[in-house]
């Protein structure tokens, strides 16, 4: 085997053993509560997203609903339960990791702004109805008319298999 081949093999072995040593399964998420609905502006051309598609939207990897309609991310301020569920289930990040993620995202020129922070349910619904392409996460007990509730993995809030709670 050539020297180049040996170096590639060494590199791959190092990766393999590091992966084995570091493997740790994710802790089970057992906390259950009221469902958090994924809600969008009524004119948004989407009705159903998989959980991984919701994650792509929240990570800023999907930034357009269509070529003419950018995604506008709305997220509740810290301490709100909606935010806790979004961070735990979708981002799988702590509050600090979430902040660092968006600093890095903007620094990498992949996004211009972080999600917009909303401080109340009133404000959230007002923005949802006013801003085309907006998406927010709302406690399903506090729903209001004039917005569109998305199915996640084919389920609506209140159904047994709904993933955001």
């Amino acid at each position: 085997m050539s020297a180049t081949g040996q170096r590639i093999v060494t590199f791959l072995w190092t990766i393999l053993w590091s992966s084995v040593l570091l493997y740790s399964p994710s802790p089970a998420q057992t906390t259950r509560g009221a469902d958090i609905a994924v809600v969008v502006n009524a004119d948004t051309p989407v009705t159903d997203l998989s959980l991984s598609e919701v994650r792509k939207v929240l990570l800023g990897e999907r930034q357009y609903w269509s070529s003419k309609l950018p995604v506008v991310l709305l997220i509740r301020a810290p301490e709100a339960r909606e935010r806790d569920v979004v961070l735990r289930v979708i981002y799988q990040m702590s509050e600090a990791q979430f902040k660092q993620y968006w600093v890095a995202k903007i620094f990498r020129a992949e996004a211009v702004t972080p999600p917009r922070i909303v401080y109340s349910n009133d404000m959230q619904f007002e923005l949802l109805t006013a801003l085309p392409g907006s998406i927010a996460f709302v406690d399903s007990r506090n729903m209001r008319p004039g917005v569109k509730i998305l199915r996640v993995d084919g389920h609506l809030p209140g159904e047994k298999e709904y993933p955001l709670r």
């Binding site: 509050e95 660092q100 990498r108 211009v112 702004t113 401080y119 209140g158």
Partner: protein, 426 residues
């Protein structure tokens, strides 16, 4: 080395009080402000509801009905009553404040201060002011954005200012975004993940083969760039493709003033972020260029360069895992002689569950090999291990301490060093 022990001891005791104290809750002031605002909003809402019992009863009934799974996904808007006019005016003002105005310039900065001590003969220990880095981001319209990055660098006799990145980008959609300017070349992972912000990276320094001012890969790239997602379902594929000037005659530079040999370089990067393995990214990159050196070597001064690279990273912090490999192939146009240079690193880290998850130990091994027959590069051989600890003082600042064991040429001794850094974003 003995003379340096007291200095290290002083640094240790200077840092110790910070460890002894429990870290303050992150962003306490901001949280208090937010809570106060929420209290004010709720008080206002209660007062409004108390004066409008009929309207409140109607709203409550509507809200109670919506979450039922059997209800239609689209709820109809109820017409506002006359009593809501003042409230609606206030909400409209709040909405207008949240709307983006163009241009909307945002500035963020990164900085670091370092201390180093090594047992290398002739080296001096001491403090260094790291790069002061300013990042500018501005939306010019819904689909056009500008990004800029400037660094201020300390030198023995002065400071220099460098335009690291200057990019104007047009977004057509998620699948096609076209930009022009000066970039960090999308070869591998590190170069486009961490840029100049030391705070963003776990370790104090970048791997040797992607370091700024280095020659192994072209760190910067001037030209045009297309990027976007590739419709691929759960595979989460995305691409970057760029055409630009390629390396300057000083091969660590990207040819900011023009293409020295009238030969465009191109770079392509394909990566995957699988939906089922959130946190994983795998990718491959290729880069093609023609290099014209300012001096004629026995193999001439013109070479074809072909860089191929691969990376696999797990970006979650329990654990964090980064690995990259790059091969740089040079072919002399005069003699057809071929050389291959390889470099790789493997870095592992783990965010510990204690002390409010502020501690992250890490280890990195890196290796660079350049053959004796190489003419474009000077000898870049390196075998290095680093082990260190990152302590996040707040959400936006950290301390890092690192031990490095480095060996370059076979004839040179190993060098041991201790490095410390505090880095931050503001």
């Amino acid at each position: 080395m003995r003379k340096r022990v007291p200095v290290l001891a002083i640094m240790f005791f200077a840092v110790s009080p910070a460890w002894a104290q429990s870290p303050p809750p992150p962003d306490q002031a901001e949280q208090i402000r937010i809570l106060l605002e929420r209290v004010q909003q709720l008080e206002k809402r209660v007062a409004e509801l108390e004066t409008k019992p009929t309207a409140a009863a109607g709203a409550a009934a509507t809200a109670a009905n919506v979450p039922a799974a059997a209800k239609p996904e689209m709820a109809e808007a109820a017409p506002p009553g006359p009593g809501h006019q003042h409230e609606m005016a206030e909400r409209q003002a709040a909405t207008e404040q949240m709307e983006v105005h163009y241009p909307s310039l945002q500035i963020r900065g990164f900085g670091d201060v370092d201390f180093s001590v090594t047992d290398e003969k002739g080296s001096t220990s001491g403090f260094n002011l790291g790069q002061l880095d300013l990042h500018l981001a501005s939306a010019l319209s819904r689909k056009v954005t500008y990004f800029g990055e400037l660094t201020f660098n300390a030198h023995p006799t002065n400071y220099t200012v460098e335009v690291e990145r200057s990019i104007i980008r047009y977004d057509y959609n998620d699948f096609f975004k076209l930009s022009f300017g000066r970039y960090h070349t999308p070869i591998g992972y590190w170069n486009t993940a961490f840029h100049h912000g030391a705070w963003l990276q776990t370790t104090i320094s970048r791997p040797d083969f992607v370091k700024f001012g280095g020659t192994f890969i072209p760190v910067h790239f001037l030209g045009l760039w297309a990027e976007g997602n590739i419709p691929s379902g759960g595979a989460g594929l995305a691409y970057n493709f760029g055409v630009g000037n390629g390396r300057d005659s000083m091969i660590s530079r990207p040819g900011d003033f023009g293409d020295i040999n009238n030969n465009r370089a191109w770079v392509a990067n394909l990566y995957s972020r699988p939906a089922r393995l959130y946190g994983l990214q795998m990718g491959v990159s290729v880069y093609r260029d023609k290099i014209t050196l300012p001096v004629v070597t026995p193999a001439g001064n013109e070479f074809r360069e072909w860089i191929s690279a691969a990376h696999i990273v797990w970006t979650k912090e329990t654990p964090e895992f980064l690995a990259e490999f790059a091969n740089v192939n040079h072919k002399s146009i005069l003699t057809n002689a071929i050389t291959n240079n390889q470099a790789y690193y493997v870095q592992i880290a783990y965010r510990l569950p204690w002390f409010e998850k502020t501690l992250k130990p890490y280890y990195r091994f890196e290796h660079t090999h350049t053959p004796l027959s190489e003419h474009v590069f000077a000898n870049l051989d390196l075998v290095e291990s680093i082990a260190g600890l990152r302590y996040d003082i707040t959400n936006y600042a950290s301390f890092k301490g690192e031990y490095r064991n480095t060996k370059r040429l076979p004839t040179e001794p190993r060098v041991n060093g201790a490095f410390f850094q505090t880095d931050f974003t503001f």
